[in-house]
Amino acid sequence: MSTQIPKSRYLPPKEASNFRSILKLYEQREYKKALKLADGILKKYPEHGETLAMKGLMLCFQKKKEEGHELIKKGLRCDLTSFICWHVYGLFYRTEHNYEEAVKCYTHALKYDPENTNILRDLGLLQFQMRNYEGAVNSRKTILQQRPNVRQNWTALAAGYYMLKNYTMAESILTKYEESLKQPLPKEDTENSELILYKNVIIYESGDVKRALEHLDSISDKVLDKVSVLEYRAKYLLELGRNTEAIKVFRLLLNRNPDYTKYYYGLERALAIEDDIEKKKELYKNLAEKYTRSDPAKRIPLDFLQGADFKVACKDYIINYLERGVPSAFVNVKPLYKDADKAKIIGEVVTEFFCTLTPTKGAIISSDESGPTTYLWTIYFLALHHSKIGDHDKALELIDMAIQHTPTLVEAHMVKAKVLKSKGDLLAASDSMNAARELDLQDRFLNTKAAKYLMRAGKSEEAIAVVSLFTVNDAKGKGVSDLHEMQAIWFLIEQAEMYLKLGKVGLALKRFQAVKKVFEDWWNVQFDFHQYATRRGTMRAYTDLLKWEDELFCEPAYLRAAEGAIKTYLSLYDTPKSVRVAAELDGLSEEERKKALKKAKRERAKENKHAESAKIGDDDDPFGRQLENTNTPLEDAEAFWKPIVNSTAYDQSLSWGQEIEKRKAVAAANNTSNDKS
């Protein structure tokens, strides 16, 4: 095996040293200096693949991506067996988020330099990104053998085993490192603290709860995250059936935080009273007396109480909030409305209370001095109640009373808007929401609500004007491009759906594509964490992140955008443009036809005139025409659908995506039958 450097790679000592400097300067991000050196080498050796590749890579970081890409390819062609060239190409693909190609390049690079730690490390990160945990374990094992004195390398390998659910190996890797420490690390070492707890989680998830508890007890004074220690302890004790001890820990947790419902449910389980309504009543009565400001202590009983008991409890709960003027009183009890009986009781209770009130100061039967505002918030609650049970007319009547009483109450106008929306009067709804907005111009939430209602009413320009009051605006004072940058998917989806209703298919598709891009960015951005989290040792949070990313494309927002996009693309596929145009012109006389075509031409010309002003940045398709005129609508639809199917949270019941498969099958059948004929 020849160890001679191929002629295309050879550099005399001066240039060779310069090249080594280029690599160093690249690591330090001193691209300008490095490029100067590179140009120096290329003057004498214009076909030096590795220098070409490095120059190309750095040009990519200076926003000269196309030029850079060409140079990298050229460099590789000049020196196909250079691990540097392959590594650079891999880095290029990585920045393009093309992880599949990147992995291929890295694998090539390793062929020519199998022990290169840099390449192995980058490959390990890519393998995690691609969820190829077996590959990652292999890469990281090699790295660990080369550099066993860096804790990060142990953590990285353990993480790989953990994701493969090989808990035994994961635990043993972490333990080996712990045993190699000559002195125990100080408690303030957060990396150590996190890794110890991570090991505890590994033991638990392997199924050995008893040993997990023993381990937890042995480390509890060595870690910083006391809450986790208590929570895990409670969980383990409960699972081991050691209820008496579990009770103590849950009570400790409740004392720390009496507002966390999880602790209440835990205590119920530990006391083994989950099915005993009377005992639960007693428990929550005591807890409510002890933790007077806790909402769960009073709210949780409303879930398990029934009938007369429920009536007493919900009266106490709701009226307390109404007298204190808490706007969220209704929202807190809304989940109870799934039970029609409870909904009825709530309505009765609050209506009875309402009848005891007067709108102003004066003869008030209850000793409550807050007269007018109690009355106000009670009407407000009743309006929401009637809206929830579907009686929108009654709700409207009530909220109008509230507005009559206190026209300066922002929430009243908001509820009126909501009720009008439910009744289908979108224009009036947006007027109401705007009235709310004008009472408090510094409230961005109100601003976004008003913009949303305007879009629902189809008022595109007005919506943009409203939302632009809070954005970084372009030269025309519009904030749409800022909202793209800020990843405001609520806005993008509402605009997309509005454009669909207005028949502007191109713009709708554009916005749907923008939403897809945001989610893809959220997928790509996890890449940095593979290294960062491992270095910091925060593995519990890191593995939660991986899980979240795996479920990302089944988030309701993405599903909503995907459904809109896929249905649109499918309708484009089903009725191609020629058919659509023909259908519009069908049944028209010759003269009407000419008129219609002329009108379309005029509108197109008008749009083209506005194209410049509608552009966002250097957008070359401001109206989404290219999207609308796609030749591959089925593939475009599939691009939205694939990540949903690949997500770990994929639910088979999503029927609109399967429509793609149906059409593909039909197309394939037609093709084969065409081939036959």
């Binding site: 102003t360 001095e369 106000l376 300066t408 111009l441």
Partner: protein, 159 residues
């Protein structure tokens, strides 16, 4: 007995100008121009919103009248004072006027005054309880009324 409600005064800002507009439009028979509302942002402590249990339900808006000659006094004129009807009799109006009287002291202004329709016995009595004295009668002051209404000037001298 501790009161179970709160009354707080706060400043007018461009962002809550809509509140002043809403209160005045609903309560008062006279309407004011956009320019008047814009100008309200420039009078500093002479305009205030009143909040009952954190909901804005009242407002006072005055102007500073500096006379052309030194011989006459600088005066503060109460242009609008309004409290939404369910929130009256809690002393909110009084609190708003007392704030203005305090401002007068701070600004060394000797007189605070306003106009009240002659038929509005409640308002006349209310101002008198606050220490305002009935002054001259201005015939036909309220031009838009049919027939035109007369107004008394009510004055309070500041020590």
């Amino acid at each position: 007995m501790v009161a179970k409600y709160s009354i707080v005064l706060d400043d007018l800002t461009p962002n809550n100008l809509g509140i002043l507009r809403k209160i005045n439009t609903v309560v008062l028979p006279t309407s004011y121009s956009d320019a008047w509302y814009k100008e309200s942002l420039t009078v500093g402590e002479l305009v205030k919103l009143a909040y009952f249990n954190e909901i804005p339900i009242g407002a006072i808006r005055c102007s500073l009248e500096t006379p052309p000659s030194h011989k006459e006094n600088t005066k503060i004129y109460i242009m609008t004072l309004a409290v939404l009807s369910p929130y009256r009799n809690y002393g909110i109006g009084r609190k708003l006027v007392e704030h203005i009287l305090e401002q007068a002291k701070i600004m060394f202004v000797k007189e605070v005054y306003c106009h009240v329709w002659v038929e509005n016995e409640d308002a006349l009595a209310w101002y008198e309880r606050l220490g305002f004295a009935k002054g001259e009668l201005i015939k036909g002051y309220y031009r838009k009324m049919e027939p035109a209404g007369d107004a008394y000037i009510l004055r309070k001298a500041i020590e």
